[in-house]
Each structure stands twice: as structure tokens, then as C-alpha cells.
Symmetry: C2
DNA sequence: CGGGTGGTTGACAGACATCAACGGTCGTGG
DNA sequence: CCACGACCGTTGATGTCTGTCAACCACCCG
């Protein structure tokens, strides 16, 4: 049975919301869940549309985007594997959800997922906790967007990405230089940090000239001096 | 019995989370809840402290504040009567909670409240929905903070406050001028919108000179031309 | 009466956006 | 295989919005 295999070989089985369910309970999810592949740049849900789906991100990176009437955009959230997307009990979608990279999703019809939540209080509680975490993160980001300088924003962002890259990056030694690929273009970084492409670029070259980071080319980045980066993330 | 009366004469009984409970269930809350009065400027919970309480706001206005290491501050949320505060299942408090005005709270020990949540799935679901709403609001605010000009921010803020003032303000006619008192000082508005006192003041006088608003004195404000205000809230 | 808080206004500066030009890389198609 | 265009990134010149510093006024309360 194919549907049974969906959860069995799930890459984020232990980290996603579903981790709170036992094997038997997973069967219920299996019957309503569906794998879906999206390509870079593809939009999964448009702000203003009816909220019909929710689910888990299996691989790749997604962004949540808010926009003004005249087209200015702000990325208000980044989603990584094992993150939940969508809003149970919602009417309409509030923020456009788009893939920044190739991505794999596990999608549920919203109504069906709500029924599962009702039967599994533990999962609903887990979702509540995650939502609080997202809220705290969003509020922390508000401070960054409103009060930090371009240099501070970028330093903080790079530290985030470094932590996120984690094991996947290659590092010579503990506390030594770390190199990895940023999953975002300069423009996408600008959207996240509330600045322009040019400012992102300029700040990066400045850090490079200071020896804090290296830019080997392409989307690669080397964190040469993590201490300095942390200092810059908090400096006035 | 005093404790029984707490909910009976609650000003926000029908709008707060507890509205989901029947009379018998309210007894459980009554035994753990406690009224508390706070004065203007008083802090209810400090960021970094252990999260020991949560509850409902009965009257007044509270703010949630995030701060950088070097003291820059950003108000990341405003709480109005019937709003819930605190974070069940949390470890530490993430954002300092302070009263902007005299305020009345209904406070619960966090651990006890969590037990009530576990027994009342309906209330937990309501809390989940509210948390999603807060998250959406925070994300919307991210767009404002990062991408809107001072004029747009202030126009949007005034529209919010107008909606909030609602019936309490006095208006001559539908769509006519509305006058009410802002519950925030210029400095507090600046903290909310991510700008400075001076810029708030300048933008207000500019709007006054354009005839969009009136500033009768004190903390009062008159919305003379709501259409124009809406235009300004979205203008580039 | 004096000090504190809150508000307004002016002069000035600086950080960042904007506008513009240019180079590199990659994929497609002739 | 090469060429073209699209996308991405960098850098420079310039402008402007808003933050900073400062002075001043009104009001309130002890």
C-alpha cells in the first residue's frame, strides 16, 4: 500500500507535528495526506485565496510574503523542513506562500486536518506551542526590522543561516571557518531583512573586506570570524 | 463567596477566552484566578524571567516590548481588554509586558491554567485561533515596519486607533469628523511604529496642516477626513 | 514656584534607497 | 559549438527620508 509508506519513509517523521502520533494514528493522516513537489519560485497559496490546505514541509525552503497595495514586498517568515504551514480554522490565506528552492510537501485538506486535530489533543497542543514559537520569532523580527542597522541585520541573518546550515556545512575545526551555500539570493535576503539588494551586497563586501566572512563565489559564504559576526549583530 | 463573583461581574466575560466555558466550568477558573490592578508604567512580566503567569486583560492597554542589548526598544504588540497574555507551555518570558494605562487583569498561575486547558479542548482551540491571529497581526506589522514610510505608518496607526475607539469616541455623523483620545503618548506611538518622537510629532502636524486630522490639544485627535487617511496609509 | 513630563519645531547629518552601468554565469536555441 | 538573453551580483553617483541634537513651550503636581 503506497499510502502507508508515506509516513514510514518520511524525512521529517520525528521532528514534524506528526511525531506526536503513534503508528496507528498515522494511518488516519496517511489517508488524507498527499506528497507534492514544487519547483523554485512556485507559489503554493496566494494571499486572499480561501485557505484550503495545510501541511508539513519535507525538504527545501519556503517563504511567506506580505505585500503593500503598490507592490512593495516583505518576507515575513521562512519555513524549513519539518515546519508546519497553513492555518487551521482560518478563512482566507493571509500571506502568499512560495517556494524559494525545490521543495517537497506533505499536504492535507484543511478541513480534514482540523478533524484530525480535534481527535488528537496532543497534536493540537504541539501546534499551539509551535504557533507561539512562530509568534515569538515574528515579534523578535519586528525588533530587527524596525530598530537594527543594515549591518546588524545582515550579521544576525548570517548567524541564523550558519546555525541552520549546521552539519551540512563543512568546517575545518570547531570555531574555525565554516563554509556553506546560502539558500537565498541577494534579493531574497533583502526581502527578508527589509532592505534593498544593493545594501545587502554592499554590506557583504564590507564584511568580506573586514575579514569577517569570505565570499568564495556563487552562493557560497565562509564564516571566518564568528565572534566578530556576533559582535556586529548587536552593535549599534 | 468572593471568588464566585469574579467571573460573574467580569467586564469581558463574553469576549475573552473564558467565554467558551459554561457556568460550572468557570468555577474551576475562579478558584485559580485572581484580580490584579496595575498602574500606568508598571511592568507585569520581564523578558527573561520564568513564565509564571498568564491571564486576561480586563481594562486598560498593555504593551509587549522587545529590546536590543544596547537599549533600543520596539513595541511588538498592544493588548486591549479581553486579550489574553502570557504563554502556556513556555519556559521563559520572551517580551516585557508593561501597562500603558491603568489596567485591570485576571491572572492565573501558568501551570494551573495549563491544566485547565488540558481539560477544556474548546478553550485550547480558541487560544490556538487567537494565537494564529496574533501571529498574522505581527507579520502584517512586519511589513509596515520594514516597508512603509513614516506617513503611511502613522496614517495606518490612526485608522487602527479610530476603529479601536469605536463607540467610545464622539462623532457628529457617520463619516463625519470623529474625536477621541489617543491612549498613547507620542513616545509610545513612536515605539510601536518604529520611529522617533520627533518624526511622529512632525507627521502629525503635517496631517493637521493638510486638514486630514485635527489636534484639539492634550491627547485628543479628530479624524476629519478618513478617506484621505486611508489613502495616506497605502500611498507610496 | 520649580522640576518633571510631554510635545513641537529647527538645524544638521548620515544611513540607506534610488538610479544607473557593468560583469559573470547559466541555459536555451540557432 | 557558439551566441544571445535572463538572472544575479557588484559598484558608483546621487538624493532624501528620518534620526540626532538642541532649544523651547505648555501643563501638571508637589
Amino acid at each position: 500500500m503506497i499510502s502507508n509508506d508515506i509516513c514510514a519513509d518520511c524525512a521529517v517523521r520525528d521532528r514534524a507535528l506528526c511525531g506526536s502520533l503513534d503508528d496507528r494514528e498515522l494511518l488516519a493522516l496517511n489517508t488524507i495526506g498527499q506528497r507534492r513537489h514544487v519547483t523554485r519560485g512556485q507559489t503554493i497559496a496566494w494571499a486572499g485565496d480561501e485557505a484550503v490546505i495545510c501541511g508539513n514541509l519535507l525538504s527545501g525552503v519556503l517563504k511567506l510574503v506580505a505585500a503593500t497595495a503598490d507592490g512593495r514586498e516583505q518576507t515575513v517568515g521562512l519555513l524549513y523542513p519539518a515546519d508546519f504551514f497553513g492555518q487551521p480554522y482560518a478563512g482566507d490565506v493571509d500571506f502568499t506562500l512560495t517556494a524559494l528552492t525545490e521543495a517537497e510537501l506533505c499536504v492535507f485538506p484543511r478541513a480534514a486536518f482540523e478533524r484530525v486535530l480535534e481527535d488528537h489533543q496532543r497534536m493540537e497542543r504541539l501546534l499551539l506551542q509551535r504557533t507561539f514559537e512562530s509568534l515569538n520569532e515574528a515579534r523578535g523580527r519586528m525588533l530587527v526590522l524596525a530598530r537594527k542597522s543594515a549591518g546588524e541585520k545582515l550579521a544576525g541573518f548570517l548567524l541564523d543561516m550558519t546555525a541552520r546550515a549546521g552539519a551540512s556545512g563543512c568546517q575545518a575545526s570547531r570555531d574555525g571557518p565554516v563554509t556553506f551555500d546560502l539558500p537565498l539570493t541577494r534579493g531574497q535576503i533583502a526581502d527578508v531583512l527589509g532592505m534593498t539588494i544593493e545594501t545587502v551586497s554592499r554590506q557583504l563586501t564590507r564584511m568580506k573586506q573586514s575579514g569577517v566572512i569570505g565570499l568564495p563565489g556563487g552562493r557560497a559564504i565562509t564564516i571566518s570570524d564568528r565572534e566578530a559576526l556576533m559582535a556586529r549583530a548587536e552593535a549599534a
